[in-house]
C-alpha cells in the first residue's frame, strides 16, 4: 500500500502511558521490525495502526491521508494477533479463508489459496479441525495463515513465530520474507527474536517504555546504537558495560576504570568525563598468553552455546563476557588475557547513556 505515518501518537490506559508521543514513518513496501522489552508498547502501536485502539493523542496517516477515524475493517490491513484470536467455532479452513470470504473472493479461489497457505504452514492435515484441537504452535500457524492468505495494504505481525520450533521458524521467516517481496506491501513486524529482526528487516525500531529509542537499519542499530539501552538490548549475550572516565593519558585519549584501561578513538568529545564503555562479547578475544594491550583476568564461568562458548572473565572485580569459538578448555580461576577490539568500542555518557561516538563500521581484523 502505503506509507504509514504516525504523528505524535500517545496512548494512555487510564493514566498509564503505553505509547508516548511516537513519531514514525514506515515507507511504502518497507519491512519494519518493532522490538523492545516486554510491555514497551509494541502491540499497542500495532493495534493503533490497525484501528483497534484509538490513540489518545496524535494522528495516523496512510499514504498521507488521516485514518484515525477509519474503523479497522476499512483500513485494509492484515494482522496476526499476539494472542491468535482464532474463531473457535470455525475450522482451520474457515479461519484461514474467512477474510477472503468477506472480500467476496470466489469459493474455488478461496479453497485453493487456503490450501496453498496451509501447505506453506505445514498444517494441511489440520484443516478440518477446530482451534481447540490444535497445539499451541499449530494455533499460531493458523493465526499466521489467516493474515497472510489475504491481500492487504499493510501486514502487521505481532510475534507470529514465537511458539514455533527453530526449524519451522526459519522456514516461516523465509516465507514471510518471500511474501513481502511478492506482494510488495508494507510489513510491520514485532519479534523478540533478534536473528529475526536482524535478518528480515529493512529497518528496526527499538522501543522502550513507549518511546522509540532508535529507528535504523539492522547494521546501524547493531553497530552504532544510539544509546546504551539500544546497545544493551540488541545482541545476545548483551554488550558488556564498564563505567569509568575519559582522560588524556600521554596525549592518547584513554578510557579508564578500576578494571580497564583502554585507548579509544581520538575524536570522542565529551564535557563530562564520566562515561561508560561498551563492548560486545564477540569483540573480545581471550588468549592464554600475554598480549600487548590485553588485560589480565580470571575465568569466572564458561557456558557452552553449541558453536561458541560464553566465557565470563573477572577483571578486578568487573565481570566481562566474551564469546569465543568452541573449544574453550580453561576452568574456573584460570588466568586469561583479555583483548578488546579497539575499533568496536562504544562509549556512552554515564548520565543518560547517549552514545558519544558511534564508531564507523570497521572490520574486525
Amino acid at each position: 500500500m502505503a506509507e504509514v505515518r504516525l504523528e505524535g501518537i500517545t496512548k494512555s490506559f487510564g493514566g498509564k502511558t503505553a505509547v508516548d508521543d511516537l513519531n514514525l514513518t514506515i515507507e511504502d513496501q518497507e519491512f519494519l521490525t518493532l522490538v523492545g522489552p516486554s510491555g514497551c508498547g509494541k502491540s499497542t502501536t500495532l493495534r493503533m495502526i490497525c484501528g483497534l485502539e484509538r490513540a489518545t493523542e496524535g494522528n495516523i496517516f496512510f499514504d498521507g491521508k488521516p485514518v484515525s477515524w477509519l474503523p479497522a475493517n476499512k483500513r485494509d490491513v492484515s494482522m496476526v494477533f499476539q494472542s491468535y484470536a482464532l474463531y473457535p467455532h470455525k475450522t482451520v479452513r474457515q479461519n484461514i479463508g474467512f477474510a477472503l470470504k468477506m472480500m467476496r473472493v470466489p469459493k474455488a479461489t478461496i479453497a485453493e489459496q487456503v490450501l496453498q497457505a496451509a501447505r506453506t504452514l505445514d498444517i494441511e492435515d489440520l484443516l478440518d479441525r477446530k482451534p481447540r484441537e490444535l497445539s499451541g504452535g499449530q494455533r499460531q500457524r493458523v493465526a499466521l495463515g489467516r493474515a497472510i492468505v489475504r491481500d492487504a495494504g499493510a501486514y502487521l505481525l505481532d510475534e507470529p513465530l514465537s511458539n514455533l520450533d527453530a526449524q519451522l521458524r526459519v522456514l516461516m521467516r523465509a516465507e514471510i520474507k518471500r511474501l513481502h517481496v511478492d506482494v510488495a506491501r508494507t510489513f510491520i513486524y514485532v519479534t523478540h527474536d533478534q536473528v529475526e529482526a536482524m535478518t528480515m528487516s529493512d529497518r528496526i525500531a527499538v522501543m522502550r517504555d513507549g518511546v522509540i529509542q532508535q529507528c535504523a537499519t539492522p547494521e546501524e542499530i547493531y553497530e552504532r546504537p544510539a544509546n546504551r539501552f539500544v546497545a544493551s538490548f540488541m545482541g545476545s549475550p548483551p554488550m558488556n558495560f564498564v563505567t569509568g572516565e575519559l582522560a588524556d593519558v600521554n596525549g592518547v585519549r584513554t578510557f579508564r576504570s578500576s578494571a580497564l584501561t583502554q585507548q579509544v578513538h581520538p575524536d570522542v568529545e565529551t564535557t563530562d568525563p564520566a562515561v561508560v564503555l561498551g563492548i560486545r562479547p564477540e569483540d573480545i578475544t581471550l588468549s592464554t598468553t600475554p598480549v600487548d594491550g590485553h588485560q589480565l583476568g580470571k575465568v569466572f564461568v564458561s557456558e557452552p552455546l553449541g558453536p561458541d562458548v560464553l566465557v565470563t572473565v573477572r577483571i578486578e572485580g568487573e565481570l566481562i563476557k566474551a564469546r569465543v569459538p568452541t573449544p574453550f578448555r580453561l576452568g574456573h580461576d584460570s588466568t586469561v588475557y583479555v583483548g578488546l577490539n579497539p575499533n568496536r568500542l562504544h562509549l556512552f555518557t554515564a548520565s543518560d547513556g547517549t552514545a558519544l561516538h558511534a564508531p564507523k563500521r570497521e572490520e574486525r581484523s
Binding site: M1, A2, D63, K65, L70, K74, A154
Partner: protein
Amino acid sequence: MVALNRLGFAERQPLGDNAKAWALNAPAMVVIALLVAYPIGYSFYVSLQKNNLKRPRAKRFIGFDNYKALLTDHAFLSALKVSALFVLVVLGLTVVLALILALVLNERFRGRGLLLSLALLPWAMPGVVNGLMWRTIFDAKTGALNGLLSQLGVIDDYHAWLTSGTGAFLFTALAQVWNTLPFSVIILLAGLSTIPSELYDAATVDRAGALQRFGQVTLPWLLHPLLIVLILETMNAFRAFDTIYVLTGGGPGDATTTIALLDVQTVLTFTDFGLGSAYAWVITAITLLISVGYIGLLYRKGNFEV
C-alpha cells in the same frame, strides 16, 4: 490500498461510545416505550385514584391516600410478611437447587440432554395444567402424594396437607420452586458453559479441590448470571400467584395470602383498581429496591472482562 484510496475517506469522526450505545439501545427502548410506558404511567396514575369499577362515578384523584392507607392496612401488612417469608424460602431453595442441577448438567454423562429437557419441563407447562397438577397431587382425598406415601407406608391415613398454615406455606413454596427452577437452571447452566475449561485446569494444578474450584473460579464467573437469577426469581416469588391461588387461595386464613395474591384479588375480584395499582407499585418499589441491593452487592464483583 487501492480500495482505501477509492473511498476517498475524509476525516470523519465516527460515533462515540455514548452515541453508539444509545443508538444500539434505541430499538429496544422504542418498543418498550411504545408498549409499556403508557400502561405503566397509567397504572401509576390510577394508583393515585379512588377507582373501583363497581362505583365508576365515585372515581376521583386522591393523591397518595391509597399508599397512606396501606400503612395501617392489616391485610396488606400481613401479606407483606407472608410474601417476604415466601420470597426467602422460594429464592433460597431455587438458587441452591438450580445451582446444583446446573452443575450436574454441566458435566458430561449419559442422558444429559434428556435431563436438560426435563429441567425445562415445569416451564413449558401451561399455568392451569400446572395448577391442576399440584391440586391433584396434594389433594386431601384423592391426591397422588397421599396415594404414594400411603403405598410406601410412610403414612397410614390420607392427610390434608394444606390445612395447616405451615403445611400450606411449605407445600406451596415447594410447588413454586418446582415451577421456577427451569429459568434459573438455564441461566446458570449457560453461565457455566462460558467458563473456559483451562481455568479449571489451572486451578486444579494450583491444588484447588472441587469446592475451592467452585468458590474461586465458578462462583466469580457466575456472579452475573446469579444476579439475573436473583432479580428475576425475587420478582417472580413476589408475584407468585397462580400456584398459591390454586392450592390454597391464600388460606387457611391468611397463611398464604401473599401481597401478589392480595393484589390480584383487589384488582380482579374487588375491581378496586386504585388500591390494586397502589399494591402493584409497592411490589414494584420493593423488588426494585431489593434488585438494586443485589446489583450493588454483585455487579461490580462480577464485572470483569476476559
